[in-house]
């Protein structure tokens, strides 16, 4: 136990590594800003998020020591990201696939809805009278 403990408390990374990772993060920031001025259509998001993911991985692995620490922490981190993904994906199973079997789209009746007038209890008008159906 004590030998192990000494080994763990004294895991010191070289200064150069920290500075290199920091430099890489700044460079990646520059890259992602530069790339955002190019137009890839839908791919812009993918590129931006991929670069962000690389940056986050660098932070987690080196600054947060996940590369060197107990792998349990890495596991916890991955679990968090995984469940977040489940939350997003499963919610979008619904929000992205509504109204696929109807001819009338069940989306918002008034897309620019701010139905509230002075009194929130009174939500008069707009809904039932509007027959136009937008998406």
């Amino acid at each position: 136990m004590t030998a192990e403990s000494a080994e763990h408390t004294k895991h010191i990374l070289p200064l150069r590594l920290y500075l290199a990772v920091g430099g890489a993060l700044i460079v990646l920031t520059a890259v992602t800003v530069a790339v955002s001025f190019l137009h890839f259509g839908g791919w812009n998001v993918v590129v931006a998020l991929s670069i962000a993911a690389i940056k986050a991985t660098l932070v987690a692995m080196f600054f947060m020591h996940l590369k060197y620490d107990n792998k349990l922490y890495l596991f916890i981190f991955i679990v968090a990201v995984l469940f977040l993904a489940v939350f997003i994906v499963f919610t979008m199973f619904d929000t992205m696939t509504r109204d696929q079997i109807y001819d009338v789209k069940a989306g918002p009746i008034t897309p620019d809805a701010t139905i509230y007038q002075s009194n929130p209890a009174d939500t008069s008008g707009t809904v039932a009278d509007s027959t136009s159906v937008h998406r």
């Binding site: 139905i115 008069s124 039932a128």
Partner: protein, 314 residues
Amino acid sequence: MDTTGTLFMPPGQSTLSGEVDSLFYFIFYMSVFFFVLIVAGTIIFVYRYRRRGKAGLTSGVSHNTTLEVTWTVIPLILVLIIFVWGFKTYMRMNVVPKDAIEIKVTGQKWFWSFDYPEGATTVNELVVPVDKPIKLLMSSKDVIHSFFVPAFRMKMDVLPNRYTITWFEAIGAGNYDLLCAEYCGKGHSEMLGKVKVVSDREYAEWLEKGPGTGEGLNPVDFGAQLYKSKACFTCHSVDGTPNIGPSFKGVYGHKASLEKGGETAVDENYLRESILDPQAKIVAGYQPVMPTYQGVLKDKQIDALIAYIKSLKE
């Protein structure tokens, strides 16, 4: 035609109610089987292996793979059958037949209104012909409601600022309860209606008469009819008892003190304003919960209602 229902289910009156009921009873008898198995097992074990005197060492059996796989796989197969069965009917409940009559349903605190393709409107009473698919295009004016007809085994939430769609086809003439199944506030349990299923001929005649126009009635009688059909009674009594809103009895010609302070004379103008813009002058002691009837009531109908309220003297 099943009119009595079973122990658990009310009489089924739509084309799909039979399908729902058969799956219900499939699960039911399966559940009874497993329940009896487990309870009988418990009772037998408790009796057979009851402790007599001191508890000695007992058997050390810790698992049995065959047994465990069996009681995992059999329920798994059963629930998968149920899943597929339930999903098939669910899709039939959601895919509307092409030739369906489209009726617009509006939920509002706390009544239902229905707009028919021929221009008629009704409140809290949906009149439909038998053996014809009816498509309901639904939305709400305020909060979420849910359109629930137990006899048709149908339910669909009614959302504000969005359409939801469902359909049914009634198989027997009669009056069926319509309930709101999504909690919507004070009058939630009063948000009741009827689905009146009639023959084709009666439906045509009914449309002919043009419900809600007050043809051939004097204003007071027409107002009395509207009081019922537009569900004013949900919140306003005519016998003097205060409800969610003030009673209509004797209200005309009096002065009412207001929530914001001050008072107002209850005259034609005030009554009209209260119907069209209910939040403008709230009577002291009541909450600003009344929806506007702008666009719901026509001028002639408002006049009739005022005439009716005027007639309710103390």
